[in-house]
Symmetry: C2
Subunit: 198 residues, 2 copies
């Protein structure tokens, strides 16, 4: 089947994927545009996950100062090449992440970064809250685990709902950008200052 | 003796001190302009030092991203009132401090913040460097103390020479601004990210 240059261009514009990838996806979907988008999204995300091993040592250090200068954020996001670091798409991602941290706060990048003592303490508090309600141990465990998940979604940046679109998490946002740029993207660190506070 | 409005204005422009202070200084110095400047500097600095007890909980959180976005700094500087926090002079100071940290780096705000283990370790290294040179203990001690002073001037922001004018230290810069704004100014904290590094 024949794929026109115009179809390829259109698919590129919508997905940000490479020209050859778009052509292949259109061939695979027999010219069905929406199916081709799905093909790209699937392979793109799959790639982003495999990509995790490659070194991400380029990127940007960016800041966001909230109007009024009472809250500020400094963030470092890594990618693999200086080329991607200089794209507007990557800069946008980094800016959005900095704004997310300013707006929602976060203590850690990912749940692996939460110290085990803090997790143990939260677990203890949740268990204490449920004490004396006569619930069976298996149910209690389930509730505590559920509360812990909620805790992680609050304190870990990558698990937070995106403040500008709460149907996606920050992790989704980063994965989608990784997929579009074709590189492994890593939020390395951030810090948030509140005037006179933490 | 009479002090002209013109003299007062000129003195204000040079020192940034208040109108009444300038008038008083000119009266005190019997109209001698340079003496009046000295009077103001002395009382100004004296005030800045007494001021240290008053609470500084207003201020600005500011960032500086070095062109290229590979080095970034987030800093919090406190003053006593929102009024001073909104002056261009205070904003300038904060911006200059952020640039200083980006350019020169620093591990601590002041020498009191350096952990005693780190001081002990530096002292040990300096002593080891001088070992076996047959110098008397009193001299050794003096040299080690001198080297430690140099170490503090490197790692403590307030003791560093200002990168834009190495005849003054950052501490001098802050004291002068405190004197001019009439408030206690405190560099509360800062953080510096280098892409892919510390």
């Amino acid at each position: 089947m024949t794929v026109t240059a115009d179809q390829v261009r259109q698919l590129r514009e919508q997905t940000g994927a490479g020209m050859m990838e778009c052509k292949k996806a259109l061939v695979e979907s027999a010219g069905d545009f929406d199916k081709a988008v799905d093909v790209l999204r699937k392979s793109g995300v799959a790639k982003a996950e495999k990509r995790g091993d490659r070194a991400a040592s380029e990127g940007l250090v960016e800041a966001y100062i909230h109007p009024g200068s009472r809250v500020g954020v400094l963030i470092e996001v890594n990618c693999e090449t200086d080329f991607v670091a200089r794209t507007p798409e990557f800069a946008d991602l980094v800016r959005n992440l900095a704004m997310q941290v300013a707006a929602a706060g976060a203590d850690y990048v990912r749940r692996e970064d939460v110290p085990s003592e803090r997790v143990a303490k939260e677990r203890e508090i949740f268990a204490a809250q449920l004490e004396g309600q006569g619930k069976p141990a298996a149910i209690l465990d389930k509730i505590v685990t559920g509360k812990l998940e909620k805790f992680f979604a609050e304190v870990c940046l990558l698990e937070q709902p995106y403040v500008r679109d709460d149907k996606v998490t920050i992790g989704d946002l980063v994965t989608a950008a990784a997929s579009r740029t074709g590189e492994n993207l890593v939020v390395r660190r951030f810090v948030r200052f509140r005037l006179g506070k933490d």
